[in-house]
Each structure stands twice: as structure tokens, then as C-alpha cells.
Subunit: 336 residues, 2 copies
């Protein structure tokens, strides 16, 4: 990037432009590893060896607008986001932080509602908020509450986003596009049916069930930039191609309808309660069955497989093939 | 708090009003402990037992304005703040997170400068940034960059802010009020001499030296709300009174001059590279000597002692006594 360049909205939108900003600025941090998997891996979190286990550490800022949305609120979102990044590294979530920046004038009752959602999401996975921080900014300085949730988890063996091998099956743990499409529809004031709501959920129990079966080679949660972005990252980092069957992609009918009307690809928007999982072929059916038995895994399917080569290829319903490109950025702003 | 109440600036200013907001809202989180010391302790961080050690976890949002200030910048501040909270728990800082929220239009060169400061501060203590997150907000939504830094450290034995016993000596590791007073003077465009700059520093090495000697019973860093706030918190939580000698309080001449002119008490403003330490009386001199040998401990002094009773009492230069009250909030806004 040249010296005159400034940060633009797309730099925070989870796609190729954000990767480029991170690559040219933050990945330049030299003190970037504390043993194990550090910043250089650009994975969902870091994993630091400790005794015979690993401590996984991850962080996310949540700037979603509006703060209360169909299917959740910023409290549930912040816990889910951090629990899920820990889970993607194979780690049981243990302890989380609650760093809030509040605009002056924010109703205290709304804070209490958010705290209740935080508690409900924590209870689902048995994690705790153990520390936090509170800053308040003048209303001219900040338009909406920001919550940073960092967290630690424990694992015997970290799972990476780069571990796919040719032949591995690719599972998604449920329907695609619900969070991003429902959020934009809500913001635009569209009504597409009552089913249209965020999938925002802490999915550790689903991931735990999959890990117990075994054969998992890679995981990543398709947040900003969606499944399109995550498949591309996993393929690139794993040095494989990923082949996906269009007719296997699980998209809710009303999500599809809203996406069509809005001109947005459900593959490119954020999900907040889903995982993309690579599994050894021989284990795929048992892992899938275990996932489907869990609350947030009922709609899980195998959508394709990893092969030699590079890129993400969609085999279309009419028998054609096309690349699924990584988006420059998520088309829906302030989505998480 | 009643249902119509709204968050105001003083709720984020580190004093009694913030404690009241935290107490009535965030301390209501029920899933608040992962073993060991959790949110209920309201200490500088949490400490979770792991094998025969403790993992300490802490977090801070940094919203300081301006981002570049005399003696540091938001990068150095964010690392120092988190390193110091880990250190206050007795923990060696290991791995930190870098969660940034950037306003659209922020110069990429400034980001790079901040990253350099981050790296320098990390190198001073041997810690690493291992993971991060990047969000961008429209310039109407946010006026200045926010950095959340969370972190983990390791200790055999967590030190609490509530461990003072009657008879313990109270050490401050250096001069008081430098950060807050220099920041407000800079913002107001005052020139009080070249020495007026933030004390912003990661002081793990100073704390490590003190811990190696032994006899430390309590620690807390006097950030928002200053030494006045921290002494009151430590006294209250430890069920002791603290007696301080006014003529022993180390305040730089130019800090004193600026504070007088601004009508601000240096005891009530944030420090960003200092600790208040309780030590068993018999160890106080050796601990002090060890601290003074370190880079950020040269001006350390014993300022008083803990006794039976309650409250913080200043023994004035002219032989009188008065309470040092906890401030409602730090008089300098957006100080960290
Ligand atoms: N400001 C930053 N400093 C250091 N590393 C960063 C920063 N922003 C992002 N990263 C790193 O870049 C990678 C991608 O970050 P990203 O936030 O997209 O991951 P994620 O949290 O899994 O996704 P999402 O934020 O959409 O939930 C991660 O490894 C993250 O640690
Ligand atoms: N939003 C929050 N949610 C949960 N706990 C919080 C929140 N804000 C603060 N706390 C807790 O309240 C206590 C006081 O927080 P505070 O931020 O003042 O501590 P600190 O980080 O040591 O000081 P500073 O932020 O000035 O550096 C800490 O134990 C902290 O974990
Ligand atoms: Mg992720
Ligand atoms: Mg994430
Ligand atoms: Mg804090
Ligand atoms: Mg502190
Ligand atoms: Mg702090
Ligand atoms: Mg992230």
C-alpha cells in the first residue's frame, strides 16, 4: 500500500481487501508468536503449547447495527463469535472477556438485556465472562455500542484451517446465508416471512460432537465474506482445490428469495452459527450423523470434497462448472 | 439504577460512578467464573487454575485521543495497559490480542506507526500479539481508532488487589500523574516544559524484580481514577486503612505546576506505567531496592502503610490529616 492510502470500509469487510490490509500492516508485527500457532497462521485463533495441552486465544470486535436484530443481539453475537472461533481451533471454550465501548446516552436497560443474552449464550456452552472493561465515548464520537470479546479455550490438538487433504469431504453444519441476508432484509425493512432470522449461535457442542468421532482435518467458521471466502481460504492454505455441488448447498427458501431480490449471493454473506469442516472421507458419514444429532447441526450436509489442484469449483445444477471466487468484501456492512 | 437511566461519560471514567455501573450491570453476569479468580473479584484480571499454575486473562479497550501524544501513542498504550494488568496479577505476559476498530479514512501510514510502537512495547517484555480482528466504521459512526488488547499471562501464585494486611508498606513505582496531566496539557495546547510527557510503559520487568524478592501482598495499577482511586479500592477490598505521607508522594515539579494551573489533582488522574504495591514491612526495603534497579522503577518510593481500620488517610506536610476520597471519575476524559 502506498503512503497516501487511507482505510476504507471494504478493508473491514472480511474478504480479499481485508486480507490485503492485514497482510500489509498487522501481519508486519514481528513479535507474533508465543510458541505453537501464532499470528503468522492467520487462523481463527492462536494456539500456545502449555504442558501437554494448548491454550487457544482469539478475539473479535462486534460493531453490528442494529444492536437488536431478528434471531439475536450484540450480546449473543459476541459470545457466539468468540466461542465459535475457539471451537474452530478444536478448543473447548473456558473463559471470555467483555470489553465494551458505549456511546453516551445508551439506555442502561438495553445494557441489561445484552447482559442477559450474554449469560444465555455462555450457559449453552459452559463458558464464563471472567473480566471486562468499560469505556464511554461522547455521542458525537461513536454511534453505537462496540463489544470486544476475547477468549481462551483448551485443546489437546489444535485444528487448523489449512489441514485439508485431497479426498477429504467438506461438511457445512447448516444452512447458508441466514445471518447476513436476514440482517440486511431487516435493515431495509423487508418482510420475507417469519423464518428469516440470524443463525447466531455458540456451536461448541456441535463441534465437540464432531471432534469426538474423529477424522476432522480442518475447520473454519464462515463469518464475514461467507462460505465463498472461507472455502477459498481453506483451499489456498491447504494447497488443494475444493469441489462443491450446487444442488447440495443448503439455503433456506426465504433466504434464497430475499437474496435474489436484494441481488446478494448467500455464499458471500456472514453466517454466525455455522462451520465448514474437512473430514477424512471414510469418517464423513459418521461425523455428519454426530453433528446432525446436535441442536445447531440438524441441517448439516456434505457439500463437496477437496481434490488436488487449486481454487474452489462449483459443479452447477445444470452440469456446468464455475469458480466460486473469494469476495473483495462482505456485501452487507456492519454485520458482526 | 432505574429503568430510564442512560449511560453518561462519567460511567466510563474509572471512579465510583463506573464501579456503580459495573456493579449494577456487568457484575450481574452469572456465568462469571472459570475456577480461581473470576469477574466477582473485580481485580485487574482473572486467574484460572491450569495444572499447577494459573492462566491470567485480562482486557482493555483503548479510546485515547489524540492517538499520538507526548511519550507514546495508542499502540504503546494498548500493550502497556494489558501487560501491566497481567503484571498486577503477578503474571508473566505471554500472548496478547489486537482488536482494532478503525474509522474510514484513517491513514494507513498511521496504522503502520502504531504497529511499530506495538512491536517495541512487546519486545520490552518478550510478549507477542498472536491474533487480532479488524473492523472499519463509517467516519460518521466513529471519530478515532479504538484498540482492544486482551492478553494472557502465567503465574504460580496470583497477586490480588485485596491482599493488604495491617503493617504492610505501600510502594509506588514512580512519579504520580504524568500520563493524565501531560495528556490534558497537550490537548489544551499548554507548554509546561519538555519533561511533561506520559509515563506509558510496560512495567513487567519492574514487577518481576519485585516478585523475585518476595513479600508482595497486593498490587494494582493506578490507571483511570489515579492513585486516589486505587488506594481506596485496595483499602476497601483488603479491609484495612491506608496511611500516606504527603511529603513522600513523588510528583514531578512540572506535573505539579501544570496540575495546579489546570485545577486537577495529580492523585486522581491516570498513570500508565506505574504500580501501587503492598509489601510485608520486613521486606519493603529490599523490594524497593530491587524495583529501583529497573528501567521503570528508578523513582519508586514507600509512600505509607496499611493499618487496621478503613479509608485512605493523608498525613499532610503541615502535620494535619485528611481523607483521600475516591474520585467519582477521572477528571481527564479519553485518557486511555
Ligand atoms: N488488527 C489485527 N491485528 C492482528 N491480526 C489480525 C488483525 N485483524 C485480523 N487479524 C488476523 O487475521 C486473521 C483473519 O481475521 P478475521 O477477523 O477475518 O478472522 P475471524 O475472526 O475468524 O473472522 P470474523 O472476524 O469475520 O469472525 C486472523 O488470524 C486474525 O487473527
Ligand atoms: N464491561 C464489563 N464487563 C465485565 N466486567 C467489567 C466490565 N468493565 C469492567 N469490568 C471489571 O471491573 C473491574 C474494573 O475494571 P477496570 O477497567 O477499571 O480495571 P483496569 O483495567 O484494571 O483499569 P483501566 O481500565 O483503567 O486500565 C475489573 O475487574 C474488570 O474486569
Ligand atoms: Mg473465524
Ligand atoms: Mg471471528
Ligand atoms: Mg480496564
Ligand atoms: Mg488495572
Ligand atoms: Mg487496565
Ligand atoms: Mg475476527
Amino acid at each position: 500500500m502506498t503512503s497516501a492510502e487511507k482505510v476504507s470500509l471494504i478493508h473491514g469487510a472480511g474478504g480479499e481487501m481485508m486480507q490485503s490490509l492485514i497482510g500489509s500492516v498487522f501481519a508486519g508485527i514481528r513479535n507474533n508468536n508465543a510458541g505453537g500457532i501464532g499470528l503468522e497462521a492467520l487462523d481463527d485463533g492462536a494456539a500456545i503449547p502449555f504442558g501437554d495441552k494448548y491454550i487457544v486465544l482469539t478475539t473479535d470486535n462486534h460493531v453490528i447495527k442494529p444492536v437488536f436484530f431478528p434471531g439475536g443481539d450484540i450480546g449473543r453475537l459476541s459470545i457466539s463469535g468468540t466461542v465459535n472461533d475457539l471451537a474452530m481451533m478444536g478448543a473447548k471454550p473456558i473463559a471470555l472477556t467483555n470489553g465494551v465501548v458505549i456511546p453516551e446516552g445508551f439506555p442502561i436497560d438495553d445494557l441489561k438485556t445484552i447482559v442477559r443474552s450474554v449469560d444465555e449464550a455462555l450457559a449453552e456452552v459452559g463458558a464464563a465472562i471472567v473480566t471486562g472493561d468499560t469505556k464511554v465515548l461522547p455521542k458525537e464520537a461513536l454511534d453505537s455500542i462496540i463489544i470486544n470479546t476475547s477468549g481462551i479455550g483448551i485443546t489437546d490438538r489444535p485444528i487448523r484451517d489449512s489441514g485439508l487433504n485431497p479426498g477429504n469431504k467438506i461438511i457445512v453444519t447448516g444452512t447458508i446465508g441466514d445471518h447476513g441476508i436476514s440482517l440486511i432484509a431487516h435493515r431495509e425493512g423487508f418482510k420475507f416471512g417469519s423464518e428469516l432470522k440470524s443463525d447466531c449461535a455458540p456451536i461448541w457442542k456441535t463441534i465437540e460432537a464432531a471432534l469426538k468421532v474423529g477424522g476432522i482435518t480442518a475447520m473454519k467458521d464462515p463469518t464475514r465474506g461467507g462460505v465463498a471466502n472461507v472455502l477459498n481460504e481453506m483451499a489456498k492454505k491447504s494447497h488443494v482445490s475444493i469441489h462443491v455441488q450446487e444442488d447440495l448447498l443448503p439455503v433456506r427458501r426465504d433466504v434464497r428469495a430475499a437474496a435474489d431480490m436484494l441481488g446478494i449471493d448467500p455464499l458471500e454473506v456472514a453466517n454466525e452459527g455455522k462451520a465448514v469442516i474437512g473430514v477424512e472421507a471414510g469418517m464423513a458419514d459418521v461425523v455428519l450423523a454426530a453433528i446432525r444429532k446436535t441442536k445447531y447441526g440438524k441441517d448439516a450436509v456434505i457439500i463437496g470434497e477437496a481434490r488436488e489442484g487449486s481454487g474452489v469449483i462449483m459443479h452447477t445444477k445444470i452440469g456446468g462448472q464455475r469458480f466460486i471466487e473469494p469476495p473483495l468484501g462482505d456485501p452487507v456492512p456492519r454485520v458482526c
